[in-house]
Symmetry: C2
Subunit: 248 residues, 2 copies
């Protein structure tokens, strides 16, 4: 049986935006906290994987959102390693309200990185066995955002990396990208739409002192509202995303 | 005896900066959370004061920092209303580590605002009596930052208000100012100095869609390192601050 981990969390006011819902950036910080607590509980946390000179890096996320948690609500975050192969792990995250209703379900594809070579390395067996997941020949799919042509009419805003965007690893924390992705959509859009599906892919790290360009295209057709996003840094794509929205 | 309130809090990784310490913005979000929980526990929380068409607004903060909480540390936040008069409340916040050592002590001066007129109003007695504090003729002093001349060689950076800086009250959350104030000092300074004293004063609200200019002057003399700060918005001073630092 797969080892799973549950964490309860009450949402304070400062995790919420002007609509009274938890921000996506905060939700992902919490999901990662749950996965770290899970790994610690199994004895394969950061300290242990540093013995192997390694660390987990996120490749992409995909999932559905029924609604984001609200201010003061207590939610339960459940996470487990659904499957893995020699190089990758698919971790599932589920968020439930107090009545046990599922609010969010997201999968993330993680790779094991050798911290010296900064390259993906094969996962040491002692670091993966405790999750009691099965090694897979075919990993479950974690959908990726559709790549859009550069010659479309992207709208864009630029962001200077701030000191408080940088974490202990000395690069921009993965959650910060969600603020950069969503902010250019503007308050009017963000107040009147709720996210129902997300696909997010990380391509290149962004570091202190750099500037990023966050671009999006909005596509509305057949009752579907989709926004496509790219974050560029130093002429390279740093992240891509695709969000589906419903009117509220 | 003054009614005081205590809240325990474990500091997750995402409340910390690249030095592994809780950011000042996060610390102040927590202090306000503690004061709101305190007021709720006494039956004079946001819901109750809305019956009087009012709300508390922060005028200024001042206090000492021995050190900021570290990642994973569990701290206790204690808060109480030290004194009040017809218009103002002085609330004290203390942060302790697990051994009971005081890490931070900050006082804040709050005014009661009428939400319709947007002006300071006299504090309704039923909203202040539960704190079991004494009405004072002379309120304890909450030090203000020294105002510096505009013709000095201020260094500056500008910040566009982001959607996620805005809270449920539809203006920039008070904690966001700390990120704006500190970020221009730069990573090199912030990694090698620790805050020991702070004075912060709020002058004008900043709203969605506005841009602010964060300026500072650094003064080093007689083993003292002081930075003076101003945030300007639409040609008006929105906030001032004075921070004292020690080399680390």
């Amino acid at each position: 049986m797969i080892a799973s981990y549950e964490m309860k969390h009450q949402v304070p006011y400062y995790e919420c935006d002007a609509t009274g819902h938890q921000t996506l950036a905060m939700l992902f910080r919490l999901l990662i906290l749950a996965s770290e607590d899970h790994s610690d509980a199994l004895g394969v946390g950061t300290a242990k994987i540093k013995e192997y000179d390694g660390g987990w890096v996120i490749i992409n996320y995909a999932g559905d959102v029924d609604r984001l948690p609200r201010e003061n609500e207590t939610v339960t975050i459940k996470t487990y390693v659904e499957a893995y192969n020699r190089f990758f792990v698919v971790r599932t995250f589920e968020v439930y309200d107090a009545d046990g209703k599922q609010l969010v379900k997201v999968k993330g594809m993680f790779a094991f990185m050798n911290l010296t070579t900064r390259k993906v390395a094969s996962i040491p067996e002692p670091l993966i066995v405790p999750y009691q997941s099965e090694e897979s020949r075919r990993l479950p799919k974690v959908a990726r955002p559709q790549l859009m042509a550069n010659d479309l009419a992207w709208e864009r805003l630029d962001y200077r990396v701030r000191f408080f965007d940088i974490d202990l690893n000395n690069h921009v924390n993965n959650a910060v990208y969600f603020d950069w992705l969503l902010d250019p959509l503007g308050g009017e859009f963000l107040r009147h739409h709720r996210l129902v599906n997300l696909k997010m892919k990380y391509d290149h790290e962004v570091r202190a002192g750099e500037k990023v360009d966050s671009q999006f295209i909005k596509i509305e057709e057949k009752n579907q509202i989709i926004t496509h996003h790219q974050i560029q840094c130093q002429g390279k794509i740093a992240a891509e995303a695709e969000f589906e929205w419903k009117l509220v």
